[in-house]
Amino acid sequence: MEERPLRSCEDEEAYPEESSAGVGPPEIPLTTRISTYLRTYTKSKRHFTDLLFKIGLGLCALLVIAPFFLILIEVSSTGFAVVFGSGEGEGLEFFTTYPGGGLTGGLAHAFIGTLSLAAVAGIAGIPISVLGAVYINEYTEAGIVRSAIEFAADVLAGIPSIVFGAFGLALIVDVLNFGKGLMAGGLTLAFMMIPTILRTTQEALRAVPMSLREASLALGATRWTTTWQVTVRSAFPGIVTGVLLAFGRIIGETAPLIFTAGNSLRAPTELFGAGSWVASVPYTIYLYTIDPRPYLHPKAHAAALALMMIVFTIDLIANYISIKFTRRLV
């Protein structure tokens, strides 16, 4: 469907009549091609508008992707100098040392912080969303309950991240009295993982053929056994894809962490209390960027480069898994 070539009337005219006599695709000289193009597009006002429209759309597409390269060039030109540099807090030290006086060292605290926040979020968020998706896909018929849950997941996906931050502050920090830190930040992120994982897991489960379930049930297996031994097992790559995509999303989130995770220049040492205050890569980028001290800006660029590379890698792996394994099923 996607790759099917669609030709309008003028495309046919791009190939001269005599070329069809030869064997195989004939070589058309560039000059002939250009002249046919010119002839086609100046034939009437309509054809000329067609050409202008095409050029305009091509420019739109160029403008759409231009920011990507501008950002990549800006971030990597400064960032590579830090990541491959040899000064204090540069090179490998950028990832392994804590910041010293005047924030001169590396950003190990931020990388460790982001990793531990993602771990807490994953431990809390993955089971809830995967089990929820399994329930609504395997145990309910299409109806009010299912559409209500799906709608809730869609709304949850659309809620601004800063509202999640305010919610985390009100519920986890205040009402549950966890205090700021690793747990509060991680649990806030866990709420943000729910919609992505829920919807992708649902898609993956839906792609499992009904005949597999029926075969298992016909052999006398209970629904519970069928779900876990047959359905979830064959939908597993899709579920992993969803989990990875959700991680890719929450790793870059800043706003929910501003008032829930606190900030610190060291790795967290405990789960609750003052020792659990934790930095994260995005928040550190924010702080370093708006800092008036100019030597912090290259570090922000390098952290942004690292963050982008982490997110891209996660997305690439997720894409690879979904292409490699989901094809096999059908």
């Binding site: 996607e2 070539p5 669609l6 309008s8 009337c9 003028e10 309509r46 508008t49 067609d50 429209f53 305009g56 759309l57 091509g58 739109c60 403008l63 992707i65 920011p67 990507f68 950002i71 971030v75 089971p127 809830i128 969303s129 929820g132 329930y135 145990y139 809730a152 709304v155 949850l156 659309g158 809620i159 601004p160 800063i162 305010a166 919610f167 009100a170 519920l171 009402v175 709420f191 729910i194 209970t222 629904r223 519970w224 779900t227 890719g248 790793i251 800043t254 706003a255 501003i258 008032f259 980028i285 924010y286 960027t289 922000a300 660029h301 942004a304 982008m308 997110v311 891209f312 997305d315």
Partner: protein, 354 residues
């Protein structure tokens, strides 16, 4: 029992089934459950218990939404009940909660700021993104379509803080050094009322709108691209057969068939734009005032929460005013999601596709 009696009993039964209220049905359901668990043995019992346990995470998303709404309403109640506050704060444009006597909690400037940046961003992103999507779907050679789509997907994956960093380091100086002097000295554009005012270090409504537009582009492109792709190829062929050119087909056939999907794309990106925090926080200047030109500074709803929630943590009324802003944001995002769903339903109804 005669046949008649049986018939009658059956009729009564079906009548009862139709008439029983939700509570009676629930009671019967629960009774069945308890009976099932009581008499089930071995694997069957495990099956039932598993089903029961799975139900809890399934309602977690509904529960989360309700909890967010409840908590926001609970936290925002003090400001609406306070003599300095009330519902009038939505139309009050003075924000001065830190004053010891006579504090003021008007949130109008944030709502106006959010709307102006959002509409500016939509105005830039929708035409560009739609054009890009039409190019990708209708005109793009197959060899460069996959890389283009990959780039757009990667743009969607870039964290907002990286966009913010770029806007702060590149876009802001560009606006200050190149764009503003160019449009303000050029006789063609210098008379325009929206180019008046002086730019302070590049912090402006325009900078915020542009970076927001860049962040919306991937959403607009992917959602409209999917909508355009779902238009059957036969429509295009029919149009070509009638002698229409490619661009006429794209404009009048494909685009109008995909209109609901494009509408959904616009509404979804509206929701994204209103909720975006970090990038816009760094470049709009955060000045308490209503922007009148593109070069004025502004303050959006997400920024005020991000900037002041820490300071207001222990001042109940101030904090409550910030939560009322969060409540407004939440309600807006729910409304946008609803409208997007309606667009998709409209598409299903009138076009038979999503």
């Amino acid at each position: 029992m005669t046949f008649d009696e049986k018939d009658q009993a059956y009729e009564i039964d079906s009548e009862m089934e139709a008439d029983v209220g939700i509570f009676a049905r629930l009671r019967v359901g629960i009774q069945n459950w308890i009976d099932d668990i009581r008499y089930a043995k071995g694997p069957a019992r495990k099956d039932l218990l598993g089903r029961f346990i799975l139900f809890i995470p399934a309602v977690a998303s509904i529960f989360t939404i309700l909890m967010i709404l409840l908590l926001l309403v609970y936290e925002a109640t003090p400001i609406f009940a306070h003599p300095d506050g009330g519902l009038g704060i939505i139309f009050d444009s003075t924000w001065a909660p830190q004053l010891p006597d006579n504090p003021s909690y008007g949130i109008l400037i944030f709502i106006v700021g959010s709307f102006t940046t959002t509409f500016l961003a939509i105005g830039i992103a929708v035409p560009l993104g739609l054009g890009g999507a039409i190019f990708l779907s209708e005109f793009c050679p197959a060899q460069i379509r996959t890389p283009l789509k990959m780039i757009v997907e990667m743009m969607a994956a870039i964290p907002s803080i990286v966009y913010g960093l770029w806007a702060f380091v590149v876009l802001r100086p560009f606006m200050d050094d190149a764009f503003a002097p160019f449009v303000q000295t050029n006789p063609l554009t210098s008379w325009m009322p929206w180019f008046q005012g002086s730019l302070k270090n590049g912090y402006s409504l325009l900078t915020g709108g542009v970076i927001l537009a860049i962040m919306l582009l991937p959403t607009v492109v992917t959602v409209s691209y999917d909508a355009l792709q779902s238009v059957p190829g036969t429509y295009r062929e029919a149009s070509f057969a009638l002698g229409a050119t490619k661009s006429e087909t794209a404009k009048q056939i494909v685009l109008s068939a995909a209109l609901p999907g494009v509408g959904a794309a616009v509404v979804l990106s509206l929701g994204r734009a209103v909720g975006e925090t970090m990038a816009i926080l760094m470049v709009t200047g955060n000045n308490f005032g209503i922007p009148f030109t593109l070069f004025d500074q502004c303050y959006v709803m997400t920024s005020i929460i991000a900037n002041q929630m820490g300071a207001a943590y222990n001042r109940p009324i101030w904090r409550s005013a910030l939560f009322s802003v969060a409540l407004v944001l939440m309600i807006m995002s729910v409304i946008f999601t609803l409208i997007a769903k309606l667009f998709i339903r409209w598409g299903l109804k009138t076009r038979g596709m999503s």
